[in-house]
């Protein structure tokens, strides 16, 4: 616990220039009805980095991720205290969830493309936000699919069902769909857990590429994945952040015994 506090102070403190911090979370508590799922979570997520959230099942990492674009709002009886500031704006003080979610995109655990064509899936977001111009939409779709490294695989079948693609391809189209909104931040909730190793590798390579343009927060159950792709890693346990540091440190010389036990596979 002491380490978490220490980490928090340094995160809020002087070393890191403020401008680099994209998302700043302070003393976040979350309740599902009576049950508390997050306890005093504080973390600073830096711009254009990949931040990995790791921890055993039920530790609150996915719940935390979903507070960042207010997806928890969809669940009845969720109560939140504390603050999440993105680009200087407390997202729970503003009621513009629509604007928040265009800025903070999300990719889910299982590919969840709509039963439409590949083109329509990617164009869905921009269309819903009022872009009607065909040429403009064509351009967004191509850029987004290229951005998700899937353009070459689907360019000849844009008008066919998105559900005919393989799981790995579908997940990259999901990423393209998120990119199409031109977000700043992309949240990923175990995006490769339903994919085979080769597809997983492709998505991981893509993440490395996407880091140039986006701030990425990724929940992963796979510690090798966190070690491979992320710049910083936060270790969650029972709804608290036990340790948050550079990924290399978390996986080599963590400060907390529990972090070490987890990353070396002694539990979880």
């Amino acid at each position: 616990m002491a380490i978490a506090i220490l980490e928090r102070e340094s995160a809020a403190g002087e070393k890191v220039p403020e401008t680099n911090i994209k998302i700043s979370v302070r003393n976040l508590n979350l309740f599902y009805g009576e049950k508390q799922a997050l306890f005093e979570v504080s973390i600073d997520i830096k711009e254009k980095e990949i931040t990995a959230l790791i921890g055993p099942s039920g530790c609150g990492k996915s719940t935390f991720l979903r507070t960042l674009n207010r997806m928890n709002d969809l669940i009845d009886g969720v109560k939140i205290s504390g603050s999440i500031v993105i680009d200087g704006q407390d997202i729970y003080k503003s009621n513009d969830v629509i604007k928040l979610r265009t800025k903070v995109g999300m990719v889910f655990q299982k590919p969840n493309l709509f039963p439409m064509s590949i083109y329509d899936n990617v164009a869905y977001g921009p269309k819903m936000h009022g872009i009607r111009n065909k040429a403009k939409l064509d351009q967004i779709v191509e850029e987004s699919l290229r951005g998700a490294a899937i353009w070459d695989e689907v360019k000849d079948r844009l008008k066919t069902s998105a559900l005919g693609l393989s799981g790995g391809q579908q997940q990259r189209v999901c990423i393209a769909r998120a990119i199409a909104m031109k977000p700043d931040v992309i949240l990923m909730d175990e995006p490769t857990s339903a994919l085979d190793p080769i597809s997983t590798l492709k998505v991981e390579e893509l993440l490395d590429e996407m880091k140039k343009d986006y701030t990425i927060v990724i929940v992963t159950h796979n510690m090798q994945q966190a070690a491979r792709v992320s710049d910083r890693t936060a270790f969650f346990l029972n709804g608290e952040i036990i340790e948050f540091a550079e990924t290399s440190k978390i996986f080599s010389t963590p400060d907390d015994q529990r972090t070490e036990d987890y990353v070396t596979g002694r539990f979880g």
Binding site: N69, M71, V97, I98, T102, K103, F114, Y124, H129, A178
Partner: protein
């Protein structure tokens, strides 16, 4: 020993299936055997004559009227109600009560609806014995069916679609229109087909609200006789089983055509949605 049990079980299953199909074949066979000799173009397309001969065209028209009007009213209301219950309402006691109420409504015998229609639409609202009174009564009868089936259809739409759409910064309404309703459409359609069957098959409630006038309805405010009511009356009053059976054939064909059309549409929709 267990092989014997298996054999007995299998025989029972076969027996049950055979009995069901057998009864259906028997009924349809009987109706066709009795009625087919009366079926010709004149019978279908000419006016009814109480002196014998004549056709059933006014009854077909009256039946089509009741189907179209009651579906036109019940479908939008039913879908909106189901969407509210499933997508918007906070799942609490009120919703439970509404669900229980709609479920109970499906179990009420139609004669009771007919009595209500006769008292309320015919008398209190002064709509008289008319197609509109019957259609409004039928609307109440099929509303719970449409609500239930639409709710079931909405339940089968994966939560992941809703999340995926909302996470793109769309509104709930956009998500509903563009993602949820299209995915639920085949299920909603099957509810509408079911309701059509219910309307076509209804007689007691219509008898009490639309009356029995066997002439071509001049407007939706005229009294009229639907096919089922006609079939009942010719059996009851004239004992004319052949005529009743011929009407039965027409009903069977109408239902068959409607079912096939709806299946076709729902398949088409499915394909355009993938």
């Amino acid at each position: 020993m267990s092989r014997l049990k298996d054999g007995i079980m299998l025989a029972l299953l076969w027996g049950a299936a055979l009995l069901t199909v057998g009864i259906l074949v028997l009924i349809v066979g009987f109706i066709f055997y009795k009625g087919i000799s009366l079926i010709n173009l004149e019978f279908i397309f000419s006016d009814y004559s109480p002196l014998g001969g004549g056709g059933i065209w006014p009854m077909i028209i009256a039946t089509v009227y009741t189907i179209v009007i009651s579906l036109a009213i019940a479908t939008p209301i039913g879908i909106l109600a189901a969407v509210y219950l499933q997508e918007y309402a906070k799942q609490g006691r009120l919703v439970k009560i509404i669900r229980f109420a709609t479920e109970s409504l499906t179990g009420i015998p139609s004669i009771i609806y007919g009595l209500f229609g006769a008292v309320f639409f015919v008398a209190a609202l002064k709509l008289g014995m008319s197609i509109i009174s019957a259609s409004l009564t039928l609307t109440i009868i099929i509303l719970p069916v449409i609500i239930r089936t639409t709710e079931e259809a909405l339940k089968t739409v994966p939560q992941a679609y809703r999340e995926g759409s909302l996470a793109l910064g769309t509104t709930k309404l956009q998500t509903l229109y563009k993602v949820i309703l299209p995915s639920a459409m085949p299920g909603i359609l099957s509810g509408i087909i079911l309701s059509m069957g219910r309307i076509i098959g209804e007689s007691a409630a219509i008898f009490l609200t639309a009356g029995t006038v066997a002439a071509m309805p001049e407007s939706i405010f005229s009294s009229a006789r639907t096919l089922t009511v006609h079939s009942y009356l010719v059996t009851q009053e004239a004992g004319d089983i052949e005529l009743a059976a011929a009407i039965g054939i027409v009903l069977i064909v109408i239902i068959l055509v409607l079912n096939l059309t709806a299946t076709f549409i729902s398949k088409k929709l499915d394909r355009s949605n993938y």
